[in-house]
Symmetry: C2
Subunit: 284 residues, 2 copies
Amino acid sequence: MMPAGTIDEVRTAIAQARQAGKTIGLVPTMGALHEGHLSLIEAARDRCGFVVVSIFVNPTQFAPGEDLAAYPRTPQADLAACEARGVDVVFMPDFTQMYPDGCLTEVTVGDLGTTLCGAGRPTHFAGVCTVVAKLFNVVAPDYAFFGAKDFQQATIIQRMVADLNIPVEIVVCPTVREPDGLAMSSRNAYLEASQRAQAASLYESLCLAERMIRQSRPAPAEVVAAMRQLLAERAPDGQVEYVEIVDPQTLKNVQTTQSRVLVALAVKIGPSRLIDNIVVDAAD
Amino acid sequence: MMPAGTIDEVRTAIAQARQAGKTIGLVPTMGALHEGHLSLIEAARDRCGFVVVSIFVNPTQFAPGEDLAAYPRTPQADLAACEARGVDVVFMPDFTQMYPDGCLTEVTVGDLGTTLCGAGRPTHFAGVCTVVAKLFNVVAPDYAFFGAKDFQQATIIQRMVADLNIPVEIVVCPTVREPDGLAMSSRNAYLEASQRAQAASLYESLCLAERMIRQSRPAPAEVVAAMRQLLAERAPDGQVEYVEIVDPQTLKNVQTTQSRVLVALAVKIGPSRLIDNIVVDAAD
C-alpha cells in the first residue's frame, strides 16, 4: 500500500493501474475511519482492482463555529486499517496540496443543497461538491463509494455526476450501525457516556417512523410529531435540528407516506451534531 | 470526419483515438464558425492528433431577453468548414442530449464571474463554466482552445480548471480581426452597414488606450475617458456597457497603468452586443 501526499503521486500510481487494465475505485473520507468507512472499502475492494482511499478534512465544508478544529484525526490508525483491507493508495493531501491558490470555484446543486442539512449548514454542500469534484478529477475513478448515512450528500453527488457528465458510477452502501442502532460516525467519539446512551434515540425514532408508515401510512406531520415526542423522552439533552419526511429524489417534503419516502433527522447532543435516515416504502 | 449527436458516439470515437495513442484537442464553440474559430481549430490541429469541435448554442449562458433565439445557426457551413480543416469529430448535441433532466448543478468562479461582462450578464459565466465542465467530462481533452477575444471567459475557465484539478491544458489563441480591426464574432452578422462601420471604433479605442499607456502611463480614468470620447464620436449609435482597465489575473480595477493591464470594453451597437480587449504592458 502506498501513502501519497501529492496529486502527482496519485496520478502516477493510477496511470500505472490503468495501464495494467485495472478498474479504479475511490472511497473519499475525512479519516477517523470506522466500520462504516471500512464497509465502503470492502465494497470497493469487491468491485475494483485498484482501490484509492482519500483522507482529507476539507475546511471548505465546515462553516465558522463548526467542529473543523475538533474533528478527530487518527492518521496512523487509518493507514493501518487501509493496509489491512488491501487498499492500494491512501491519498492524504495537506491543505496547500488541495488549495494551493485558495479556491474561487464552487460547485452547487441547487435546491438539493439547501434543504435538510443544507438549511442549517448553508455552505456545507458547496464545499462537499467542490472537493469531491476535485477528487474525481485527480483520481478519475470508475466507481466511487459513499455511505447511506449521508443520504443527502450521496443524492447531491449523484446529481452532480449526472449533470456534469462525470464518468464515474456512484455506489451508495448501507449505513453501518452500533449494536443499539446508532449510525457509525466519526462524531460519535465526541459523546460522553450519558450522551452516547441518548444518541440511540435517533435510530429508535426512525424505527418508530417505519412501523407507523407500514402500519397505517399516516400523514407525515403525524409521524414527525411521534418521532419528536420519542426524541424528547429518550434524549432529554438533545436539540432537534430537523425531522423531515421527504421525497428521496427531490428531497422536498411529501404530503403523504403512500409512496417511497426518506425519513431524515439531525439532532445535536452535547458537542455532536448527529444525523441519520431511513428510506421507507409502505408498498414494499 | 464524423458528425456526432450523442455523448456515447463522442466517447466511443475518443476511446479509439486514445487507444491509438493520439492527443485529444477540443474546440468548444456555439457554431456560426468564422475565421476566429478556424484559427482555434488550426491551433488544435497543430498540437493534437485528434481534434473535436463542439457546436452547441448553450441556453444556460443566455439570460431571458438576450439573443438566444436570434443567435446565428449555420450547421451545414460549419460542418464543411470543419471537414476542410481536418477535424475528426464534430459534436453537435441537441438540448436534451446535454440537459436530459435539466441541470441543478452550477459551477461558478467567484468574483471573476461578476465583474466586466458578468456585471451586465450575472448568470452568463455560470452557464459557460457548467457547459464547459460538461464538455471536458465528455471529451476528456488534453488541450482545449479558447479565443482571447473572450478574455474573461478564458480567465475563468483557466481558474476553474486549476481549482477543480481538471486534467486539461487551456490554450488561449489571439483574437482574429477584420481588416478594419473589428474582432471576429458571430454577432457581427447582426450589424447593418452603418452599424458595421461604427463597430470598428471598439478596436480604435483599444489602440488609443495602448498608445496612451505606452507613451505616458496615465491614470486608468484618463485612458477610459479618452476611449469613451472616441467611442462617442465614432460610434454615435453605440451604447457603452463598460470600458475598464483591470488586472489580467484578478480582473479587478487597477489604480495605475504602470504594469501589465487588460483594457476591455463592451458596446451595444444596434442588435449586437460587441466585446473586445487588449493586454498592454507599458514595460514591454
